[in-house]
């Protein structure tokens, strides 16, 4: 319990009735987490932290960004080159997207392998999967906004996929882009979704996620239904004990973000030119596995099939808590689930790496190796 209220607090409480809220928050803040809570449990808060960072830097970018064909790229130049610390805000936002995605994925992997999604936390997992989707859409819509060659063409290629859906694909794509190709309408739509719709979706989902997390507390590794209650004094209070750990991690994470912003900044790039496709257009890393997988399907039947196949992992993601219903949480008690999980990670890595190296040329031991779009290397004779 919080300390006894002071006189001025009573004065305010008589008029504002705020002490009840304060006590509630106090209770939440000091709530004891299970004794097993370890370093892996900071990932969720890290995802929240990166989201907050995106939120703040995003609002700052809105001060100078203008979502029109004429001014979008100009304003990015202005932010990056003229506004004091504009470069930092932009880089933090651009790299923050990667960090946010990474934190969400790692948090999800931890939840999966530790079986934390099991009863009674199935819906927490569902909301989490929704958050992953929202993060991906955030990344996709935000990528177009700088309106440079890379963003323009990545979006053009990315939305082509939608067109392959049978029957309604073309219409879907046109609704998405607001026209037959990426233009002002698409920019407006992507901007709108990125800065108005998605933040609310994310805030709602995050709130629900946090409330459920508080209601059920963190999961331990004990089997479903056999969780032993722990004496309150052996639990780890969220504040200040767990938070101390998280504060340390957060600072290191921010330093890493800053390092990337400085050492490998996102370029301003050449303004979007619809008449000139640059070489080597690739989507962001978190879309690479899907991007590569889709390449292996072609033709009027192949493309819809490809969309179906690449949709399977996401469907599994949502359905998983209802598919794996055994009581075991310990990885040693869920051999098949762990195997599937590892296979999924390996597959994602393999397709991601194939996508990353496809359509590039590398020089290895004096040989020029050209890798085609399917990721198959071809040895080239030296010229």
């Amino acid at each position: 319990m919080a300390a006894e209220p002071k006189r001025w607090q009573l004065y305010l409480d008589t008029r504002l009735r705020y002490l009840i809220v304060r006590d509630f928050l106090h209770k939440q803040l000091y709530k004891r987490l299970p004794p097993q809570t370890g370093w892996a449990h900071v990932l969720g808060s890290l995802a929240l932290l990166t989201f907050l960072s995106q939120f703040v830097t995003g609002i700052l970018l809105l001060l100078y960004y203008r979502p029109t064909l004429k001014e979008a790229h100009e304003s990015i130049q202005y932010i990056t080159g003229v506004v004091p610390f504009g470069w930092l805000i932009r880089q933090l936002h651009a790299w923050g997207a990667t960090f946010m995605m990474l934190a969400v994925v790692l948090h999800m992997a931890r939840t999966y392998f530790m079986g934390s999604f099991k009863k009674p936390r199935e819906f927490t997992w569902l909301i989490g999967a929704g958050l992953l989707m929202a993060t991906m859409v955030f990344g996709f819509t935000g990528y177009l906004l700088p309106w440079n060659q890379l963003s323009y063409w990545a979006t053009t290629v990315g939305t082509e996929v939608t067109g392959a859906v049978p029957l309604v694909g073309e219409q879907m794509r046109e609704i998405l882009l607001g026209g037959p190709s990426v233009g002002q309408e698409a920019l407006s739509r992507f901007f709108l979704v990125h800065v108005t719709v998605l933040p609310w979706v994310l805030i709602t989902l995050v709130t629900l996620h946090l409330v459920l997390m508080r209601v059920h507390n963190l999961a331990t590794l004990e089997d479903v239904g056999r969780e032993k209650p722990y004496p309150p004094e052996s639990g780890v209070p969220f504040w200040p004990v767990h938070m101390a750990k998280e504060a340390g991690v957060a600072v290191v994470c921010m330093a890493a973000l800053f390092t990337l912003a400085v050492t490998s900044p996102w370029e301003i790039g050449a303004p979007a030119d619809p008449l000139n496709t640059p070489e080597g257009i690739k989507p962001e890393w978190y879309f690479l596995p899907t991007y590569q997988l889709l390449k292996y399907f072609s033709g009027s039947w192949g493309k819809p099939l490809g969309i179906l196949v690449s949709g399977v992992p996401f469907l599994l993601l949502f359905a998983w808590p209802f598919l794996e219903r055994g009581p075991g949480r310990r990885p040693s008690r869920r051999k098949w689930a762990v195997r599937i999980g590892i296979a999924a990670v390996v597959l994602a890595l393999v397709f991601g790496i194939l996508g990353y190296v496809s359509e590039t040329t590398i020089r290895l031991a004096g040989q020029t190796i050209a890798i085609d779009m399917y990721g198959v290397p071809h040895l080239h004779a030296l010229h």
């Binding site: 001060l63 080159g81 004094e233 052996s234 101390a244 290191v252 330093a255």
Partner: protein
């Protein structure tokens, strides 16, 4: 029914009625063997008639005007039978008597006068806006003189260049006289070595032309502005210019260069000012393979970028490789490589000995000027390349890009100025160019050093993060000790055992200070970012040209609009903004406050205070920007006025 259709029906009536008659007889199903019949020219001369129908003359001319005879002939029954039989057997019809007035195929020597009967007639040519001095011009041409004096009909007459029945307007791309077909038309005779040797003329000049800078631009790039044979030699009055006139012929387009050459040491003697002596195969008085001496700035930049990429910025070999590459480019000559055509041991004539000493000095000076030019080219290319490389990176180099355009202008202007052969002035120009490049580089350096503090800041940031993490971990252990107990265990021994209260206070204090510092470190950039910017320009396409106050009439203020140099002038009709990029070759024009004109230093173009072209080669006026006054501030909007 328009007037033209009526006239077409009337003028071509002979042809039409004949065709109609033939059609009717055919339609009637009666071959009409052995019956009298009316025929028109096309009935017997279908090929010529078809060509004629596609020609410019189809409306205004009909066959008898050139060939004599009649439009329509009445055939006797025998003649008709003979004609139909020969046609059925596909054999040559028997000779036909066209009557006394029939001239047949005009002799070549008579062609010019024959065409002249109409083309010299002002009344007839007026409706078509055609000149009537062509015949007179022709008689003055090399072709005409030979025809008149010697009756030599091997020379070109009208039909050789314009065609016979299939004469087309020169605006028609199929026409022999269309600008892109002129070299082939002239080449019809002038590339015929056997024919040309009869006149003691070279047979390779058309081939030379095809390989020249003009020929490549015309034939490969389809550049209508590039000269064809007629541009220099004239069309109807075609004749080779004399040596003394070559400079003037080239000066028709290269005005600025001609001016420079005439003011130069070479300009004092007209014969020496001929451009063809240096630009192309040296020493050949009939040189038609005219070449650029220096590649355009775009090529310089491209060559440099390529070299840089290959050498990975290896600074030592960069300039020598770049120079060597330039030497191998078509249309790139070291200026001193042509001096020896005249100055040197090969000099012909009785005064050769006399010139030995001066020749040596000239060659030395030529080498010096060549080196200066090469240095200027290298400096420009290096700067432009650096700007291009940085322009899409993380720095905004818009001002530098505008300055690089200035440097480009200086390069093009220098190319022209080289023709003054005025060494001190040329070196001054080179220095000016190098000064611009130096400015740009210094500014880029400054911006790049601005980047290094970002990298340097990584050290304190990581030192801070590491220290904070270590201390926070310490604090975490202490907190855990204080708050968490193993189930059933008594409270942990007081922390003081491991950590004295003083040290604990120090730890807390340090963490608090660091936390405050971290907050400050996060909020400070955000606060500075939010503060109103001092200089606008990028995000908005609106650029301020400054306060209206104190702006004198006809005063110019320069600024960059959308990355391009522009200027606002206070004219007597208010403020006007123009792009300063010359519409000819992209040089930067300068405002002359005294004459109220923009002058381009590259090719001497002059634009008026309304941006309109006053003189020189530019194809169109300077693009104008919208200028508005907002509370005493003169603001240029990036969108160009249409």
């Amino acid at each position: 029914m328009t007037a033209s259709r009526i006239s077409r029906a009337r003028i071509g009536c002979g042809v039409r009625i004949g065709a109609l008659a033939a059609l009717l007889t055919a339609a009637a199903g009666a071959p009409a063997l052995g019956q009298p019949r009316t025929v028109a020219c096309p009935d017997c001369h279908p090929t010529q008639a078809e060509q004629f129908h596609g020609s410019v003359h189809r409306e205004a001319v009909h066959c008898p005007q050139c060939h004599g005879g009649q439009d329509v002939y009445e055939l006797t029954a025998e003649q008709n039978q003979a004609l139909l039989l020969s046609r059925a057997a596909d054999t040559q019809p028997a000779p036909f008597d066209h009557g006394a007035a029939f001239r047949g195929k005009p002799a070549r020597v008579t062609v010019p006068e024959l065409c002249g009967t109409c083309h010299e007639d002002v009344e007839k040519m007026n409706p078509y806006g055609l000149r009537t001095d062509q015949l007179r011009a022709y008689w003055l041409s090399g072709h005409g003189k030979r025809l008149k004096l010697h009756g030599d009909d091997r020379v070109a007459v009208c039909i050789d260049c314009h065609g016979i029945h299939d004469i087309l307007s020169k605006a028609d791309t199929r026409s022999r006289t269309h600008f892109s077909n002129v070299p082939a038309t002239c080449g019809h005779c002038h590339a015929d070595r056997a024919l040309m040797s009869a006149f003691d003329l070279p047979g390779d000049i058309v081939d030379q032309y095809r390989h020249s800078v003009h020929g490549r631009n015309l034939l490969e790039k389809g550049d209508a502005g590039s000269p064809n044979c007629a541009t220099c030699h004239g069309s109807h009055a075609a004749a080779p210019p004399g040596f003394a006139q070559v400079g003037h012929v080239c000066g028709k387009c290269h005005q600025q260069v001609e001016e420079y050459v005439l003011s130069s040491v070479h300009g004092r003697i007209a014969v020496m000012a001929r451009c063809t002596g240096c630009h192309g195969k040296g020493g050949n008085p009939r040189n038609h393979q005219i070449e650029d001496a220096a590649p355009p700035p775009e090529t310089l930049l491209q060559t440099y970028t390529q070299t840089w990429d290959e050498l990975k910025g290896n600074a030592e070999r960069l300039q020598s490789t770049f120079d060597a590459r330039l030497d191998t480019l078509t249309g790139s000559l070291r200026p001193d490589s042509v001096c020896h055509y005249c100055h040197g041991p090969d000099r012909p004539g009785p005064h050769a000995e006399f010139f030995v000493t001066s020749d040596r000095i000239v060659l030395e000076r030529g080498a010096e000027l060549s080196n200066a030019l090469r240095n200027a080219q290298f400096d420009y290319a290096e700067t432009a390349d650096r700007v291009a490389r940085m322009s899409h990176g993380v720095l905004l180099v818009r001002d530098e890009a505008v300055r690089a355009e200035d440097a480009k202008t200086e390069v093009v202007a220098l190319y022209a100025f080289m023709h003054t052969f005025n060494q001190p002035e040329i070196l001054k120009r080179v220095e000016k160019l190098q000064a611009i490049c130096g400015d740009v580089n210094a500014s880029l350096d400054h911006k790049q050093t601005g980047l290094t503090w970002r990298n340097r800041s990584l050290i304190p940031v990581w030192a801070f993060a590491a220290l904070f993490f270590i201390l926070m971990y310490r604090k975490y252990l202490l907190l855990k000790q204080a708050y968490v107990r193993e189930p059933g265990q008594p409270a942990a021994p007081p922390a003081e055992a491991a950590f004295s209260p003083a040290r604990r206070r120090l730890l807390d204090m340090t963490l608090r200070v660091m936390g405050a510092g971290a907050m400050l470190g996060l909020f400070w950039p955000a606060a500075v970012y939010i503060l109103p910017a001092r200089k606008r320009g990028g995000a908005s396409e609106r650029v301020s040209a400054g306060k209206e106050e104190g702006w004198k009439l006809w005063e110019e203020r320069r600024l960059a609009v959308a990355g391009q140099p522009a200027a606002v002038i206070r004219t007597d009709r208010g403020f006007r903004g123009f792009s300063l990029v010359c519409t000819h070759l992209g040089c930067i024009v300068h405002w002359n406050e005294a004459t109220h004109e923009f002058a381009c230093p590259c090719h001497g173009a002059v634009f008026g205070a309304a941006g309109q072209v006053i003189s020189g080669p530019p194809p169109k006026a300077l693009p104008e920007y919208t200028v508005t006054e907002i509370q005493g501030e003169v603001v240029v909007t990036g969108a160009q006025k249409s």
